[in-house]
């Protein structure tokens, strides 16, 4: 069965959308200066102030990836994947609870759930379709991809996949040296529409201790790829930016990998 990628969003160090990220990966453009956080217009401004960085990143790239769909078709099942969740909120709660008062902000508490970005996205867009939130540490991106592809195959599509990770707090960065935010989203559809970015074919294969693919990236992006767990989606986006087909094997579990054949489509 063939799937296609029919919409991409991206936000991270030196880029604020997919065309910029794509040009950066081809070495055609210098990094643009980026703000500390995106300001997704789809979230009302009073809600946006309360939204954590993780939610703002995820909602921004979801908005970009679905922008070409008419509003009536933007309601699609969605899968959110992140390796670390929101370490700032984790640290906030743990520091408060290690102190005397142990009083938590109710908003920060409900924002600390791993599916908070899914919540902000579905609330902001009035999407009543199923929303999933998955985590698999260093394999979060491949696990998110698998969930989205399997949903697409068994339930029909389109399915929106968003991956995001924010910089780890200073205390937790000794374990997870993640220093820059990265988020990307792709819309995966079960058929091949006339105009899509790429087609995908997938399979789960045995594969002992599969490693994430090595490929060329400019320094800033390479550092992001190595340290920000969500940025491992760059392995899938790189063939698209180059316009070259690729067969990727992404680590899925100790004994298996996700084999992904990515075939970029000429822009019509």
């Amino acid at each position: 069965m063939i799937f296609s990628i029919s919409g991409i969003g991206a936000w991270g160090p030196g880029f604020t959308d997919w065309p910029q990220l794509s040009a950066l990966m081809r070495g055609e453009q210098d990094s643009a200066a980026t703000a500390e956080a995106p300001k997704p217009a789809v979230i009302p401004s009073n809600e946006r102030r309360r939204a954590p960085l993780s939610a703002k990143l995820a909602v921004e790239v979801c908005s970009q990836a679905t922008a070409h769909y008419p509003a009536s078709e933007r309601q699609m099942s969605c899968v959110f994947a992140s390796g670390l969740g929101d370490t700032e909120l984790t640290e906030y709660m743990c520091r408060e609870l290690a102190g005397e008062k142990k009083q938590l902000s109710p908003t920060k508490f409900h924002n600390s759930v791993h599916n908070a970005p899914a919540g902000y996205w579905t609330i902001a867009t009035g999407c009543s379709r199923p929303a999933n939130a998955v985590a698999g540490l260093y394999r979060s991106v491949s696990q998110g991809l698998l969930e989205a592809l399997v949903q697409c195959q068994t339930e029909g599509g389109p399915v929106l996949l968003a991956v995001y990770d924010t910089p780890a707090t200073q205390t937790l960065s000794s374990l997870y040296p993640c220093h820059s935010p990265f988020a990307a989203a792709v819309v995966i559809t079960p058929s091949t529409p006339d105009a899509c970015e790429a087609t995908l074919q997938w399979e789960v294969e045995p594969g002992e201790d599969t490693q994430w693919p090595e490929f060329f990236l400019p320094d800033l992006l390479m550092s992001c790829y190595k340290t920000n767990i969500a940025a491992r989606l760059l392995a899938v986006l790189a063939p698209l930016s180059q316009g070259k087909s690729a067969i990727l094997r992404l680590p899925l579990s100790v004994g298996t990998c996700l084999r992904l054949q990515v075939t970029p489509q000429p822009i019509s």
Binding site: M93, K102, V113, A116, G119, S128, L137, S140
Partner: protein
């Protein structure tokens, strides 16, 4: 395609395993106790499992992982998992677990023991633990599961949604069997967090009661083995017949006032199971004992399944958050074989605004199909339907 439940185990404050669950449900013995968590002064009741012991976990050390291991060790469950792995091959058995807190209990501890520079000390430098996917990493390592694994973390619907994802994996042929389940251990963050939202009760929780005044937080673990090709000597007869997932698209921590997402999930589960509402013989409600949840959920059930008897079992276990889905799925589908419909523990006078039939005595007819609901923060809903599978490969009750 029928998805069979091969075996299951559950650990909560009210029981340590399936055998004890049947006894506790029949004798109406609750596991709730006044809050005695170290360092917590919140005036509430909790569902704690005192037997949990993290000894020997090494780099995996956390209360959550210890609770998961405790549950896996009950009955012959680990032997069943090993047998299924031998039967299908070790990369053909997958793992999908739900957890909301993951191992934040351990992260809380780590921040109480930071060194002078504010850094993690060696004992707490556990990259496999301080992350939202920790439970799956641990269980895969502990049981030697090498197939695909996935941790679903959608707050209080987490370990209900594992059945939906597992069903899809089996349908797509990703694996031949899936170990599903979930685990959430008690920690200060959940007790103090729900207290900050003014949702916890100073009393034992009383779902559906006129005088209910909030929830009790509990901890629990539960697991179930699913496959489309049952092994001859391993079968409970129980099959997953339907699931429905939805989003409220309303508010991060308040349910939709008309229960729009809850209704959508229940309708989707009924549609997928090809069942009409009259066929459902029992519903295990989400029934948290919060004022708002119980009223809204009951309204939806009253309009959609007016003839089905229901109960919330939170009076036994407390609200076990990310483990509620698997815990209540097990309570509900175990009734297909035992015929034990749990009463709505701690109910004295039903809320006059609630007009559903509640289980109040023994001796109801054994259900042929049961439903269970789980709703989480972010407006994340999941409803499941289980039944007794047909021996032929007919369409009745088959998951489409």
């Amino acid at each position: 395609m029928q998805i069979h439940v091969l075996d299951y185990q559950t650990t909560t404050a009210a029981w340590l395993n399936v055998e004890q669950m049947r006894e506790a449900l029949a004798t109406r013995r609750s596991g709730l106790r006044p809050n005695d968590l170290d360092g917590s002064d919140v005036d509430t009741w909790i569902g704690r499992v005192p037997e949990v012991d993290a000894a020997g976990l090494g780099q995996w050390c956390s209360r959550n992982n210890a609770l998961a291991r405790f549950c896996l060790r009950q009955g012959g469950f680990e032997d069943t998992v090993a047998k299924v792995q031998r039967h299908f091959g070790n990369t053909r058995v997958g793992l999908i677990l739900g957890s909301s807190t993951s191992s934040i209990d351990r992260t809380e501890q780590a921040y109480c023991h930071l060194d002078a520079e504010g850094q993690l000390t060696a004992d707490f430098s556990q990259d496999v633990v301080h992350n939202p996917g920790a439970l799956c990493l641990f269980v895969a390592d502990y049981l030697g599961i090498r197939g695909p694994s996935q941790l679903i973390n959608t707050a209080c619907s987490s370990s209900a949604k594992v059945f939906a994802s597992a069903s899809r994996w089996l349908q797509a042929g990703v694996v031949d069997a899936v170990l599903v389940g979930g685990c959430d251990a008690l920690g200060l963050s959940v007790v103090h967090g729900f207290n900050a939202l003014q949702l916890v009760s100073a009393n034992p929780c009383r779902p559906l009661d006129r005088d209910r005044d909030g929830i009790n937080i509990g901890e629990a673990a539960g697991f179930a083995l699913l496959t489309v090709s049952p092994l001859e000597d391993l079968c409970t007869g129980i099959v997953l017949e339907g699931y429905g997932e939805s989003s409220d698209a309303y508010h991060m921590s308040h349910p939709h006032p008309e229960g729009r997402g809850a209704r959508q999930a229940m309708v989707a589960a009924l549609d997928r199971a090809h069942l009409n509402p009259q066929s459902i013989g029992y519903i295990n409600l989400h029934g948290t004992s919060s004022r708002v949840n119980d009223t809204i959920e009951a309204e939806v059930v009253a309009s959609l399944l007016p003839n089905t008897v229901c109960s919330s079992t939170k009076g036994w276990t407390g609200h076990t958050l990310g483990a509620a889905g698997i815990t209540e799925a097990i309570i509900a589908f175990d009734a297909l074989n035992t015929g034990i419909l749990p009463v709505n523990l701690n109910l004295e006078s039903i809320d006059p605004e609630i007009s559903i039939s509640v289980v109040v005595r023994d001796g109801y007819d054994k259900p042929e199909h049961v439903m269970t609901n789980s709703f989480g923060f972010g407006g994340n809903n999941c409803s499941l339907i289980f039944g007794l599978g047909s021996t032929d490969s007919g369409v009745s009750g088959a998951l489409a």
